[in-house]
Symmetry: C2
DNA sequence: TATTTGTATTATAATAAATAATACAAAAAG
DNA sequence: CTTTTTGTATTATTTATTATAATACAAATA
């Protein structure tokens, strides 16, 4: 997967990197076990400071999305824990996001339909394979 | 509805105020047409600067969630537009949130079930009435 | 033995965000 | 008309965030 960033965006660079990898890992665009560029290499590719990339990687590591091994380098976790239910943080963010949608006039059906679309795209292949 | 804030939270005060009103408006806890405290009054109640409250109100006004009238004061919009489908901003936020959930091991079923719960709670009464 | 890895440390500059103090015109209330 | 209250524009101040940089160092690789 090609990692790109938008330097004109108001979203911090480290957050763009982190978000792209989260999306990639969830969708399967980044396969479990897949190698990521080294901190220094990705920094060179993007033309940013290594510590900016390191910040993104450290975040992902803390979130349990990547593992870092000095031998194997950084890579996507082999499998996501089968933890099951969403946590409180998810509930809070989801309910706020859905509330915002409702105040913008999105109907219940339209909301559920769109969510289903996104979820189906995300989970279209097995349990995180490919 | 009682507006409360958490001064120890790392969420900015103006955002706490804004978020609570969004949730209230979406759930019906704040009825369409319901009066909100004046900027100065809410500021006094919460013990914060009036401009902090103003920032929250200005946001809500720009989002079309409240209307401000010097005569009637601030109040929740009478009805939400029947705009229909979610916008791109929603799609982006939703897909990132759902991606994060998946990388934490939330199953497809659990995800859809929780979303349904939240949406059902939000839309339990009519089209924005009461 | 060199080199490359992640990463810790420290520093600095730039920008953004949050809150506050003040002022003022519009409207309401008396 | 006068006084008070309204939202809000302006300005300032403080704090937090962001990005970058310069080193350094131990672990591992080649």
């Amino acid at each position: 997967m090609r990692l790109e960033i938008d330097l004109t965006s108001d979203v911090p660079i480290y957050r763009q990197i982190r978000d792209r990898i989260v999306r990639g890992a969830a969708s399967g665009a980044l396969a479990p076990g897949e190698r990521l560029p080294t901190v220094r290499q990705l920094a060179a590719d993007l033309g940013v400071n290594p510590m900016t990339v390191n910040k993104a990687y450290a975040l992902l590591k803390a979130e349990g999305i990547i593992v870092m091994d000095r031998r194997r380098g950084a890579q996507i976790c082999e499998s996501f824990a089968q933890s099951g239910t969403p946590d409180d943080d998810f509930d809070g963010k989801a309910s706020l996001l859905l509330s915002e949608a409702r105040t913008k006039g999105v109907s219940k059906q339209a909301l559920l339909a769109r969510i289903s679309e996104i979820v189906n795209t995300l989970y279209q292949d097995g349990e995180g394979s490919k």
